[in-house]
């Protein structure tokens, strides 16, 4: 059969082809509309938060740290705090208008402080309140590849003034059109023809949403047609409220480094450091005004443009009678009030972020983290983190000044943890802490030098029937065959010290005495202690192990010291507290774990020896009262040829470890004392930890002993020291020379019993 190609039939065929193609195009756009609006738009990256701060009656608080934290949270000082985000600091009190977070309602609270403690909290009505909670800081996120960052708002979270402002400025006819407003298009068309250029847009909010979701900003007829089809389809599928909400959550507001800031929820956080519900009308006007040109009207980069645009928007609001003239003048007179951005890339704290990722790896898929809007609440203390970063930077500058430019490539890592709970409060993985890349806190495996010695001494003290703090060790010349070679360890001062009590050998960090002690104890006993301290690595059976050839990362080293600082209770270090889902319910809790690995008494003895580092040793300089109130203790470490400088120390509730060295392992001019200890001191001096209560150990007795021979001495004898002993192990021999000044040792019942038993058995 022949088909006659008439003009009419060609027309019909063309129409069919156009219809098929149009239908296909519409179907494709329709599928993209529904996919995007129901899929990608609602995928929210996981957000990482610092810890929130509870201020409770009786809780310890450091005033300057609290003020720093308020600064980091973008609270501003105001004589009469009247809106969320304001505070006033007086001599013994602080009034904060809290923004509200979780179960903490927004409101003004007065917090009275005395002796580094909160003594009373009252609300605006003067009624006493037990606890108030300061919101956490957003410190990072887990973003999809397009790096879009948003905080999803539900309709109930959108303030009505935001809706009024958007509609007044962007689409006054929104509730009356079907996605396209021909009136707006024709008005824009004639204006543009008249101007000979594109001066005005006629896009409705629905069209803008369509454009934001699918198309580039290129102004072509084809794109406009596609946009119009998409807008009609959006209106067909969704209600006006759903469209407006999608728009509020999707609009592009700023680029911050690699991260793009979308939606008013994130915009409020990014520019004002608060939630959208806390925004004032002038702040909303600023954000809405930015929609016309996020870069041109960016308040940080172009504050004048942004101010003019905000004022214009405020004028529109006044014309629409959403605000009156006096409010208009007040809002126009206000400064923009934007805060510094918290972070520009994936996170503000790369080293801490690495730890969070490592912990999450076992429980979450990457895709879950990037799309499900999880809230990751961490243990990071922003003030401690800031101080640790500052300390490592400051110390490096000081060291370069002292030793010259050869230290320019000096690297470092540091960690601060809560001793009891193992919560990681701060981490630095580089001497330039904000730099992404090699994280030395977890990845630098280096010889720990004398940091190993407390592990050896703890092995001895745990054998309490054989060793105590005054057991005499031998620090005379040692010569050993090891691996076919003669091994002769030296002390740092290149001297031999003969017979010395165990505690002196430890705080003086004598190598030869330590090596002898290690060999006496045996590799198996030492390995056992290592395992108890959470070190899973097997030791190599060389005597050099006992003076510091053992290699560890700062993370693993501080974990081992956590057990010591916590009196023998092992708590795995953890950076995360809880993961909450998008509704705010706990999805996973990283709960506090604890296992008693060593009895508290031998650890108490070890900590006594480590305290001497602060009293007479390398970290001396702090007042005795401070050392006692912090229950401080520490240990320096220096590896062969001074390639690694270490210090670990506990003060109050904090355990802090620092490592300094070069990545290529070349020697430094630094010892543990001249390098890492300086970082530690700079940090501790700034954060000033709170004091802690002493533990109650009924089985410990303090006895005056001689610093040289370790035998009984007295307060009035020269060269004496009050040393703790596990009851039943204390020395009782008084040398003749100290007969007059020595305190007579107390006998305890068990000694008497032992003697009686002996008499009875012998009898």
């Amino acid at each position: 059969m022949k088909i006659k190609l008439t003009f009419k039939s060609l027309g019909i065929i063309s129409l069919i082809i156009v219809f098929v193609i149009s239908t296909a195009v519409v179907a494709i756009i329709d599928s993209r509309v529904t996919n995007k609006l129901e899929g990608v738009l609602w995928t929210i990256p996981a957000k990482v938060y610092s810890r929130s701060l509870d201020l409770a009656e009786g809780s310890k608080v450091n005033k300057s740290n609290l003020l720093r934290e308020l600064g980091m949270l973008a609270y501003s000082e105001n004589k009469n705090p009247s809106k969320p985000g304001e505070f006033i600091y007086k001599k013994n009190s602080i009034e904060i208008f809290l923004r509200g977070y979780g179960d903490q309602k927004s409101g003004l609270f007065k917090i009275l402080l005395k002796d580094r403690k909160v003594t009373k909290i009252t609300n605006q009505l003067g009624i006493s309140v037990d606890i108030v909670k300061l919101e956490p800081i957003v410190i990072g996120g887990m973003y999809p590849s397009h790096m879009e960052d948003r905080i999803l708002l539900s309709w109930s979270q959108v303030p009505s003034i935001l809706v009024d402002t958007i509609l007044s400025v962007e689409d006054q006819n929104f509730f009356n059109h079907n996605g396209i407003s021909f009136r707006s298009i024709s008005r824009a068309f004639f204006t543009n023809i008249k101007a000979g250029d594109i001066e005005q847009g006629g896009s409705t909010i629905t069209q803008q949403l369509a454009k934001n979701l699918f198309f580039t900003s290129e102004q072509t007829i084809k794109r406009k047609a596609m946009e119009a089809i998409a807008a009609l389809l959006i209106e067909f599928h969704y209600s006006k409220e759903e469209i407006l909400l999608a728009y509020i959550n999707d609009v592009f507001l700023a680029q911050s480094g690699k991260r793009s800031v979308h939606g008013f929820g994130m915009g409020a956080q990014h520019f004002f450091g608060t939630s959208v519900s806390n925004l004032e009308t002038d702040q909303i006007a600023l954000l809405v005004g930015m929609l016309k040109g996020p870069s041109l009207f960016n308040p940080r980069r172009n504050p004048n443009n942004a101010t003019n645009r905000r004022n214009l928007v405020l004028g529109i609001l006044q014309k629409g009678r959403h605000i009156n003239s006096s409010l208009l003048e007040e809002y126009r007179s206000r400064p923009l009030g934007v805060v510094s951005p918290n972070f520009r890339s994936e996170t503000k704290y790369p080293a801490f972020h690495d730890l969070v990722r490592l912990e999450l790896r076992d429980n979450y898929e990457d895709s879950e983290l990037r799309t499900q809007g999880l809230r990751i609440e961490t243990n990071l203390d922003p003030v401690l983190q800031d101080s640790l970063e500052k300390s490592i930077r400051k110390t490096k500058t000081q060291l370069i000044k002292k030793y010259g430019n050869r230290l320019i490539e000096l690297e470092g890592a540091a960690m601060a943890v809560d001793i009891s709970t193992g919560e990681i409060k701060a981490v630095v993985g580089s001497s330039n802490p904000s730099r992404f890349g090699f994280n030395r806190s977890i990845n630098a495996i280096r010889p720990i030098g004398s940091l190993v010695k407390p592990f050896i001494y703890l092995t001895a003290l745990n054998k309490y029937d054989e060793y105590n703090l005054t057991t005499i060790l031998d620090d005379s010349k040692l010569s050993l065959k090891s691996g076919g070679e003669i091994w002769e360890p030296n002390n740092f001062d290149k001297k031999f010290h003969g017979k010395i009590p165990l505690h002196v050998a430890l705080w003086q960090s004598y190598n030869i005495a330590s090596a002898r002690l290690g060999m006496e104890l045996g590799y198996d006993s030492v390995q056992e202690t290592f395992n108890k301290l959470g070190i899973s690595k097997s030791i190599e059976r060389y005597p050099s192990l006992f003076i510091g050839s053992f290699e560890m990362s700062p993370f693993n080293a501080i974990q081992a010291y956590q057990v010591i600082a916590a009196d023998g209770f092992y708590s795995p270090l953890r950076s995360i507290r809880d993961i909450k889902d998008v509704r705010g319910d706990i999805d996973l809790s990283y709960q506090y774990k604890i296992m008693q690995r060593i009895r508290p008494e031998p650890v108490h003895l070890l900590k006594f020896a480590m305290k001497q580092t602060f009293i007479t040793g390398t970290a001396r300089g702090y007042p005795r009262k401070t050392i006692e109130s912090w229950q401080a203790g520490g240990k320096t470490g220096t590896s062969d040829d001074q390639r690694d400088s270490w210090f670990v120390g506990f003060a109050g509730e904090l355990l802090v470890l620092v490592w300094l060295g070069f990545d290529d392992n070349r020697p430094t001019p630094l010892t543990g004392r001249s390098g890492a200890l300086e970082v530690w001191k700079n940090f501790i001096n700034e954060v000033q930890p709170s004091s802690i209560e002493k533990t109650s150990l009924s089985r410990i007795r303090y006895v005056w002993t001689d610093k040289q021979d370790g035998l009984v001495s007295g307060e009035k004898c020269k060269n004496s020291l009050l040393v703790p002993f596990i009851i039943g192990t204390e020395p009782n021999r008084i040398p003749f020379v100290r007969n007059k000044c020595a305190s007579k040792p107390k006998r305890n019942k068990s000694d008497v019993m032992e003697k009686l038993k002996k008499v009875f058995e012998e009898g």
């Binding site: 009891s420 706990i586 604890i594």
Partner: protein
């Protein structure tokens, strides 16, 4: 006869000493109260978990702010919301680490969670706190001395 009398005195003296001293090495433990030294009430505590829980929840914190958090935690515990109860207890610990009442609840909670070693460790840690009451000490000993 005199020797016999002396020997009797000696034996009495020995008996007196053995009653006042611990049988195990004195320095082996920091905990001074042995559960076995208490009779019926302790047996009841060990055997009846509900009774024990009741006694634990009666222990209040000295600090009123901490007590408020403990009230929340106790409510969660009764509702069987163990994660939330734990979360509140950890919150209380961040305010103070010197309240036996917090550790006691943690020891109990971990016991319910089946984490017996942790339960024991929490109790042992609390026994190092100064100024805890004798009753707190006894309840803590129920957990610290419980065989795993």
């Amino acid at each position: 006869m005199k020797i016999l009398r002396l020997f009797t005195y000696f034996l009495a003296l020995c008996f007196l000493f053995s009653c006042t001293s611990n049988k195990e090495k004195p320095y082996l433990t920091a905990n001074s109260i042995s559960v076995s030294e208490f009779s019926s009430s302790v047996e009841l505590l060990v055997a009846d978990t509900d009774f024990l829980e009741g006694e634990i929840l009666k222990i209040n914190a000295k600090n009123p702010s901490v007590q408020r958090i403990l009230v929340n935690s106790d409510r969660y515990l009764k509702e069987g919301k163990l994660i939330q109860a734990n979360s509140e207890l950890e919150r209380a610990l961040r305010i103070t680490k010197d309240e036996g009442a917090i550790y006691l609840r943690l020891a109990h909670l971990r016991h319910i969670q089946g984490l017996l070693e942790e339960s024991k460790s929490f109790a042992s840690k609390a026994l190092l706190i100064k100024n805890i009451s004798s009753w707190e000490r006894l309840l803590l000993n129920v957990y610290s001395k419980r065989p795993i």
